[in-house]
Symmetry: none
Subunit: 223 residues, 2 copies
DNA sequence: GTAGAATATTATCAAATTGTTAACGCAATT
DNA sequence: AATTGCGTTAACAATTTGATAATATTCTAC
């Protein structure tokens, strides 16, 4: 349901890059890397990571510069930033935190500590408004509503859940069994026709050809 | 506009307590202290601080125990917690972060670093303003009153809390469970009808169509 | 092209959910 | 002691929903 968190690591030492990459990836994050400050900024703009880990001492642009520059942009106002540094010098650390960093890790890096800090940071961040935009169709799980071309459409609960499920992976075919277990659970037993009826109601209300039947298999959401 | 943030510091060393107290107070925070784990828990319940700074090594109850115990309570789910420790031992640090701490500071404490971290943490937390303007409707959490088109409306406490909760995230659907745990707490058990009745009273008093029922899910505030 | 299977459609009904009103206990206030 | 207001619940009404049966239609394999 929730896309993986994206992390961008910027450090000029390949070893560190690799270690962090490995550990964070193993933890389930989508990891990207950059080997200097400039590249970090460029990649950040493309990837739009949830967290950026910046080495302070880097060629071309140092971590603090990168941080300051990114914080200027509205898109990075809320992005989490962690600094890495070899120095255990007060001044640098303070400067880093004041430039809008969320945490600070001193080298040598202990992977477990890093992971814990990363996890702790994400725990704090209010989770994204699970809203999905698909063309003119918008599905907002939090607000529990669906709108097409900014026109609200009222769906009953099961209808909403079903559409929400199908739309969570556009193009993917959901088997009838899959749908049953995800929406009705494994305990409840309902007939196959029930799904059809709900599908029909959704199609009717949306008045939009976006749910395709895959005969003998299931349904998928498209366009 | 914004009440001062409350910080509770727990440490058994009076010197540290004093230094932190002085520094944080100078920074504009309302500081409280406790000299052991048990006292920390008691004071925390009364004061409801925004941030708790816990020494790990404390008599009676250590910092991690305190943290775990507080995190059990719904009121402290979101409270920020920072650990202090003399050890630079990986294991402890990880255990601390995993028990739900938000940061970690190793002794000897460098006041500037501490202040920066504290400020950084608060910067992350979405500040809830005490007064909300929504169209012609105004909700003032501090004064505990609601007005529509500058006309005061008298709501009973539960009614106010309920409206205030719903209005805190306009559009978001609050599940009945969510409402129960946030307004009545997890201990108290009240029937489902109770929510309805309060909703009705609010609707009646506001005489404004702003609370939408999402059947089978909950309620949401809109417009 | 046709039989058989799978899905679509429609109407119906029971169950689940919420709305409404009145009444009760309790605490604070007069 | 009497009054008032609040929070809760009970009881019942009103509404919505979800499941099914029955029937029609479409698709697929042969």
């Amino acid at each position: 349901m929730s896309t993986r968190k994206k992390i961008l690591i910027a450090d000029d030492e390949p070893d560190i890059l690799e270690i962090l990459h490995f550990n964070l990836q193993a933890e389930g994050y989508e990891v990207h890397t950059a080997k200097n400050g400039l590249q970090a900024i460029e990649k950040a703009k493309i990837i739009q990571p949830d967290l950026i880990i910046l080495d302070i001492m880097m060629p071309i642009k140092n971590g603090i510069e990168v941080c300051n520059e990114l914080r200027m942009l509205p898109a990075f106002q809320k992005t989490l930033i962690i600094f890495l540094t070899a120095m255990s010098d007060d001044g640098t650390e303070v400067k880093g935190l004041e430039s809008g960093a969320d945490d600070f890790i001193t080298k040598p890096i202990r992977p477990k500590v890093l992971l814990s800090k990363v996890n702790a940071l994400f725990r704090r961040v209010p989770k994204e408004s699970s809203s999905v935009q698909l063309g003119d169709l918008q599905i907002d799980r939090e607000k529990y509503n669906v709108s097409y071309k900014n026109q609200d459409i009222t769906l009953a609960r099961k209808e909403f859940e079903l559409l929400s499920l199908l739309a969570s992976k556009p193009g993917k075919v959901f088997l009838r069994n899959e749908i049953l277990s995800k929406i009705w659970g494994t305990e409840v037993i309902v007939g196959d026709r029930t799904i059809d009826v709900h599908i029909r109601k959704i199609r009717q209300k949306l008045n939009l050809d976006c749910i395709t039947t895959v005969k003998g298999v299931g349904y998928k959401f498209e366009l």
